[in-house]
Amino acid sequence: MSWWQRLLRRKQMEEQLDRELRFHLDQHAADLAARGLSPDQARRQARLALGGEEQVKELCRDARGTRWLEDLWQDTRYASRTLRQRPSFAAVAILTLALGIGATTVMFTVINSVLLKPLAYPHSERLVALHVQTEKLGDTWGFSYPDFLDCRRDNRTLALLGAWTYGGGTVSQPGEPEYVDGRDISSELFSVLGVPLLKGRAFLPQEDQPAGRRVIIISYGFWQRRFGGNPEAIGTSLVFEGKPYTIVGIAPAGFQLEGEADVLTPLGQNTEVRTENRAARFIHLLGRLRPHVSLTEAQAEFAVLSSRLAKQYPRSNANLGMTTRPLRQELVGDVRPTLWMLLGSVGILLLIACANVASLLLARAVSRQRELAMRVALGAGRARLVRQCLTESAVLGLSGGVFGLLLAVLATHPFLALWPGSLPRADEVRLDWHVLFFALAVSLATGLLFGLAPALRAPHRELEHALRAAARTVSGGSRRLHSAFIISEIALAVVLLVSAGLLGRSLLRLSSLDPGLNVSNVLTAHVALSPSALATPTQARAAWQNFLERARRVPGVHSVALADIIPMRTGENVLGYSTTVVPPPANQAPLALASTVTPDYLRVMGIKLLHGRFFTNEDRLGSPAVVVIDENLARHAFGRTDLVGKQLWSRAFGPAPLQVIGVVGHVRHWGLADDEQSRVQDQLYYPFAQVPDHLLSLFSSFMSVAVRTDVAPLSVVEALRREERAASPDQTLYEPRTMQQLVSASLARQRFLLLLFGVFAGLALALACIGIYGVLSYLTSQRVPEMGVRMALGANAAEVLRLVLRQSLAMIFAGICAGALGALGAARIMLRLVPGIRPLEPATLLVMTSVLLIAALSASFLPARRASRVDPMNALRQE
């Protein structure tokens, strides 16, 4: 029989043991009787010889080797019984723990799925993302298409290297015209990721060529939406951007390249001019390492490749490096520190909960001292008592854990919905056995943590003293322990409170910042003109002009402009510039955010004109090339802002100088919080009318419209759409946003953190107050006789009140001092992790700690007042 069988068949074993011993006694008695003893005497002697039936049974039970489990079971039942006897204590303790464990488990669930789990691709640890880097650019730039082709041909460390870039356009057949998000991908991309297509096949290498057959892969969602999931869709034709394509494959559900796209087309068929330009870095690269090749080897190889390209093409590739990074790190990006920071803060909350429950348990343990002393007197070993106490706290911890897990299951998805923007891999977040194991470990660890101090106080010597002493006296040791719990609770709460205060203060500062434009009553939306309207540059210019005129006619519209990038929206175009005709070495030029706009842009956005003029309809192709720069560029390039008439050069515009005709205010393009940290601080504008013919169709594909309205901005969206559809049925406006929404979204991360930290700090404050209240009530109730004596000797109520408050003030101040140190550390961490945070100001520290001081003092006031109202006669009689 194995040990668990022995355990499960305990009853049967007991019965057999009984029969065995009875047989022995009967047989022995029979033998003795046969020798002439009377039956009674025989029985008596047999029993004596065996030496106490119960003791023998107990020894036999020990011999079974399952004793510890039986004890554990007994302790567990005893623990749940004692907990049930005091339901309010149990409820408070379990609820506190459930909150702490639940919050921690939610954070761990997210971290586990987002940061720890491997990506959902086969052998995903071998997937890498590649970037080019320069000192100036940082390392988040893409490759140019020619560089990609060279690297694909020449590298030896990657088994496969694939590329993709953003695309998209209008699908006009079958069905209603619709603007869809798209990606251009190289033929090997699916093999790089190791993802099989749901149906059909990936692109063939010969299709990934300029003159290849027009083939297209559609997403699962698009397939469901447009074809109702019909497998016959493969092989049929689809008109995309006015050209017929044959559907050859359907991507698996959930397939993403930085977001899901509806259509995938071969990158090699992209004939835009920029695909031949080595300086146009818009291609994202994904590679799969060969087996047994390390990341370092790949990095070394790409360093060699990049220096070779730099020598071969100094004009575009000088000073350019190439890096490889694990894909997982790439995808998770900057949420890693945020997630760990949040886990840290819920960890602090959990610690506070632990300290709270520990002080409650300690109070109970002290009042149970007599019971425990009695057990020792009756023969229980110290180890046995400690084990029993720990079992009790483990039961508490595990019950808290069960409820916490339940809480986590319920709260994880609402939490994800709250996450600002999109959390990478959010769709992969789910509870798995890692999380279960984590919750179990946390529950047991917290149980041990808060159970240890009370358990170690289990009496072992001076039993007599403990038994004789009235249960009311509190030894100094226990008082010190209680204070230690309160001090650490307060210290931890201060850390959370000050962090919340810091976030709140920063958010206040950030939202009061001037974005550099007038955000009220501005609507922005992406525009997709009809592909047929963009066939020739002349037609395209006319179509845009027509678009503007129609938009102006919509009631409620004040002014309309076009822009290729909208502040605080995704999309960027960064160019190098110089103030001399001789360009600086490649990739060493200062950078500016370049935006092409129509003349009314300044008026629509409400950007301040500081000097000179903005564009007019006279600035067009054929007239001198002009730019308007922002105050930052003016200061950086020329040291002053009144420099109308100066000249700038930029490679992207060719060798001719650009005339600076105006200086405007800086716009916080990268968001209220992030703009100050962005690498590119300079901004320049150039007229849309001067975009050269060969770039016009490319620029047309990512233009947005900005509209200043006299009415609520979103109310004109439908009218605008109707107006544009009247011009051509397959042109649309999509993703309309007001500038106000964009500004507010740019602070979403800070607001989200403030919300969470506010909640955490509030909980921490409440827990700390409950803790102080509980401990002080307990301590003062233990001191009732002492108060009685003091009052009998002449102390008045006010003096007793002061006495108790002084005791709690000492604890509170110690906690605040420790907490302030911790808060300084936390502030430094936040300064690094959250954009827009300023160093901790003394005022914030002062305000937040006084909040805690007031709350803690009010929590201690009630017990103190109760102590001051003690009737001396009653108190003395209790002694």
């Binding site: 022995r6 057999q16 029969r19 065995e20 011993l21 047989f23 022995h24 009967d26 047989q27 022995h28 033998d31 010889a49 065996l50 030496g51 106490g52 003791q55 023998v56 020894l59 036999c60 020990d62 011999a63 079974r64 080797g65």
Partner: protein
């Protein structure tokens, strides 16, 4: 209880039980009786520790037990030696012999020199 009887040395009870069980299936009372008879009442068999020892040996897999009828027609728990128990008996017997010889030798030298 006569003073001539002596207690069993530590750890030898298991060995004796195994030896007796090696002679054939036997119940607890039988073992107690057999021990007393064979040792001609010299060894004080602590009946109280006999059963815990039996259960311990059973748990360690050195003994196996079945419920069978005795000649008097009553059900009793009969212990028999397992293969593992036999091996254990052999090593323990050998080590006991070595030990007792060595001790005997030492005691004889003591007598000789005295």
């Amino acid at each position: 209880m006569s003073p001539a009887k002596s207690d069993l040395p530590q750890g030898t009870l298991d060995l004796l039980i195994l030896k007796i069980a090696a002679l054939g299936p036997v119940h607890g009372y039988g073992i107690a009786q057999r021990l007393q008879q064979i040792s001609r009442d010299v060894v004080q068999v602590p009946q109280g520790s006999l059963y815990p020892a039996l259960h311990r040996l059973e748990n360690r897999g050195l003994l196996a037990a079945d419920w069978k009828e005795t000649e008097t027609g009553r059900e009793a728990k009969f212990y028999r030696l397992t293969r593992k128990g036999r091996a254990q008996l052999e090593t323990e017997t050998a080590s006991w012999r070595r030990l007792s010889e060595a001790i005997g030798l030492i005691l004889r030298i003591g007598e000789g020199s005295a």
